[in-house]
């Protein structure tokens, strides 16, 4: 049984695209995705909304858990190519963060073309602001932003901090939970937990 995608593919993906731009411009601040399409397990509707908005036949996607129904769904609705290895992917979807590969497994671009790097979409348990929150700063954040991202593996922020020394190379992150998205571009610094 196959599921449908956006009811209005053009307008729905444009509305989501606007929010994704805003999420990257204002890092570490949760934003609502306006349109969530139906999605087969293990892909969350919010992650599917990002993939349908940003990916097409010219982008390659690496799925952490490539279930046949999810693969068929993405191929049919987005026409995208699936990457065999994380380092070949333009976009990566992490559906189970506890067993995700290290962040340096993804493409970081090269010094001539730092844009040839991966955007990693991570399905997390949720966002909070108080308990166990991290502090973020960088372009797009006035002073400091406080946010807790729940369900990330141990050592995730250390891995990301190590990548930060390689700027302008690096990976950009989208975290999704329920209908919310948080953008974390490579320029945002994680201060401490």
């Amino acid at each position: 049984m196959m599921l449908s995608a956006f009811a209005n593919p053009v307008f729905d993906s444009q509305r989501n695209f606007r929010e994704l731009l805003q999420a990257m411009a204002r890092p570490a601040a949760p934003r609502e995705l306006p349109v969530l399409p139906p999605s087969p397990a293990p892909i969350a509707p919010a992650a599917m909304a990002i993939l349908l908005t940003l990916c097409d036949a010219t982008t390659s996607v690496w799925l952490q858990q490539p279930q046949p129904t999810a693969v068929d769904h993405l191929r049919f609705h987005a026409g995208l190519k699936l990457a065999e290895r994380p380092e070949d992917a333009d976009f990566a979807l992490i559906t189970d963060p506890t067993s995700m590969p290290p962040l340096d497994a993804f493409a970081r671009g090269d010094l001539r073309y730092p844009d040839r790097s991966a955007s990693v979409i991570v399905q997390v348990a949720g966002f909070g602001a108080s308990h166990g929150a991290g502090k973020f700063s960088g372009p797009g954040i006035r002073d400091v932003e406080t946010l807790a991202i729940e369900g990330l593996p141990h050592g995730f922020w250390q891995q990301r901090a190590e990548l930060a020394s390689q700027l302008p190379l690096g990976v950009d992150l989208y975290f999704v939970a329920a209908h919310q998205v948080v953008g974390l571009p490579r320029t945002t610094r994680w201060l401490e937990g």
Partner: protein, 148 residues
């Protein structure tokens, strides 16, 4: 018709796409769409680039764009697809629905009888008329020797 199911499907998809939209709509009138219908891809119109060797020799090149409307629908366990010429959304929807219903073994015989066969006859009639019209306008040049 060939007995291979894939070839049969290719043939009815081609026939549905080439049929006259009004004739298809009239033929499909008797078949109520099932209740569990999901439009996986609502009818959408776009352009396809046609490539080919116009002279029959030399490399392929882009010789023009063509308006195509496509549609996909899920009816029960079967998914029907359609790509039709032009921008008639209803034509694409009906062709996709017919493709889905034709894959269902129970409905296939009645659809073949009431939809596919009349459309095939109508298509042959149109082709026949066109070729008669063309044949009637054939000009014999007595000064030119044809290689026959």
């Amino acid at each position: 018709m060939d007995t291979s199911p894939h070839l049969a499907r290719a043939q009815w998809m081609s026939l549905l796409a080439q049929s006259d939209p009004a004739e298809l709509a009239a033929a499909m009138d008797g078949f109520a769409p099932p209740a569990d219908l999901t439009w996986l891809r609502p009818a959408q119109t776009g352009l396809y680039m046609l490539r080919g060797r116009v002279g029959g020799t030399g490399p392929q090149f882009n010789f023009g764009e063509m308006t195509v409307t496509r549609c996909s629908v899920q009816a029960g366990d079967h998914i029907g697809h359609a790509w039709v010429r032009g921008s008639n959304a209803r034509h694409a929807e009906l062709a996709a629905l017919a493709d889905a219903l034709l894959q269902d073994g129970e409905q296939n015989p009645s659809l073949c009888r009431d939809v596919i066969e009349p459309l095939r006859r109508a298509l042959h009639r149109r082709r026949d008329e066109a070729s008669r019209k063309a044949a009637a306008s054939k000009v014999e040049f007595f000064t030119v020797v044809r290689g026959e």
